[in-house]
Subunit: 162 residues, 4 copies
């Protein structure tokens, strides 16, 4: 089984710009992150965007959907901001592609102390290989169906709707 | 679904003893690691041993097997040294428990730069929730059946036997 | 010789607030940082403020000056934001206290990958023990007199005025 | 003022060899470390050896002394293992060179969590610019004269002899 990993930005990828004195985006950190993971499964990395998911517009989600559609890999992990992860999952979920697609992200950027990013990526790379075709959100050590997930912003965790 | 995580030691848990000037074991780092993972699934952590897997004797593996047997959780992740991970997997595999049991570990200790430990833990915590009952080794982003895995020591990766 | 370390906030102390999704201040990280430094000289830590130095007003600088004045230690390190480090140095410098006072900070927060914070603190703790009474800025591995230093914002470094 | 930094190995430089499963030496990490320090003073880095200081023989110390002798920089920092730092300091001290020479190192390798290495380097780079010609050991936030220092191995700190 081979994997496609689609980078879109989000907290996972934020880095500190020392001249601006704030967090932003530079190059994707995923090449370095994937090397560290020592994967022996074939992985195709595709950087679709590097933006905060609050800044995503419809076209951005269509671009991600298009990448999923074109993917020859049947297992896809999407690195995405948590704030609108559900919205993007809904767009892709509605397309009913015959692939297992898992969205994940991070509450703390990969480059910042105590980040959950690397764990979440590992979790997503695992479940995506075993899940039936469909669209899922994987956060907090849980897999959620795309149409039954929401972010509890005050607690900073993902939960089922019902 | 709830998880049991069994700590046995191994490279994952090694820490640097600054008075001795070498790597060894102190307290398990898993409480801190699991907190960082922000899991919302119930997790039971059990520290069975904190030793190098090259130092494991039969009794150590029997102790791990016994913990698996007693576990009320049906999904178990075992943190284990990579050098004899296969041997322990064989002991547990032969017992044919009705649980999904995933052994994982790390090539570089969690506390050392560029460690794969946190990714591997995430990967194992994901697949263990989806796998059928059985015993597996999860390393390098792959799931191996307990009776079809070996460590390629010169390359530092796990591969299928055949 | 004993040292006083005065925390005022600044980039050095910024931490990532995962619920807000941005950098801010929580508790001072200096107790942990100083423990890591394994100092055997007596050190008195005093947290005067935890703010961005761009948000400092006159009273904040007077508070820092007052702490310097009251200090029974003759060697004082002030952890400060880089953006107005010079301004605070000028306020303290003009007071002509009979103490060696060194302001330092960081271009990248202590908790973020590739931070210069820990080096700068070490540098400041070293030079403050050897400098004559006076007020200095220590950044980029250099000691500057308080009345001959400025931040080159486009390069992200401190330089002499002349 | 320009600095010479002489790398000799020691705990500071140890890295984890994942194939051997133990700590050893590979390339010097100092180019990366110095870049992170954002120094604007001119620095000349010289790697004389990369060994454990317990493995040093007379010739190794003579090589270090020779590098100090040849140095056109008047301020020299030597990164050295802590176990025989005093012995090397004595060899160089006896040569009475007209330069400020500061030996430092680390109790925990730079690449391992909670390391003091980066602080110690900052401390040494600071004091070496202010000290009179002579040979010193800088550890634990203190400067020791070469002929009045010893390592307290049970406490893991450096102390004066008297």
């Amino acid at each position: 089984m081979s994997l496609r990993i689609i980078a879109t930005g989000g907290t996972f990828e934020k880095h500190y710009d020392e001249l601006q004195g704030k967090l932003g985006f530079a190059e994707s950190q995923l090449p370095e992150v994937l090397k560290r993971a020592r994967l022996t499964v074939p992985v195709e990395l595709e950087v679709v965007s590097l933006i905060d998911s609050l800044d995503m517009v419809d076209q951005d989600r269509q671009d991600i959907l298009e990448s999923c559609r074109k993917s020859t890999e049947k297992a896809i992990v999407i690195i995405h901001g948590t704030d609108t992860m559900r919205e993007t999952a809904e767009v892709i979920g509605a397309a009913k592609l015959d692939k297992a697609i898992v969205l994940t992200g991070a509450m703390i950027p990969y480059k910042i102390d105590n980040s959950d990013a690397f764990f979440n990526l590992g979790f997503a790379c695992g479940v995506v290989q075993l899940l039936s075709p469909g669209v899922y959100v994987a956060m907090n050590g849980q897999v959620f169906a795309w149409d039954n997930v929401q972010k509890d912003r005050s607690a900073g965790i993902f939960v089922s709707k019902s």
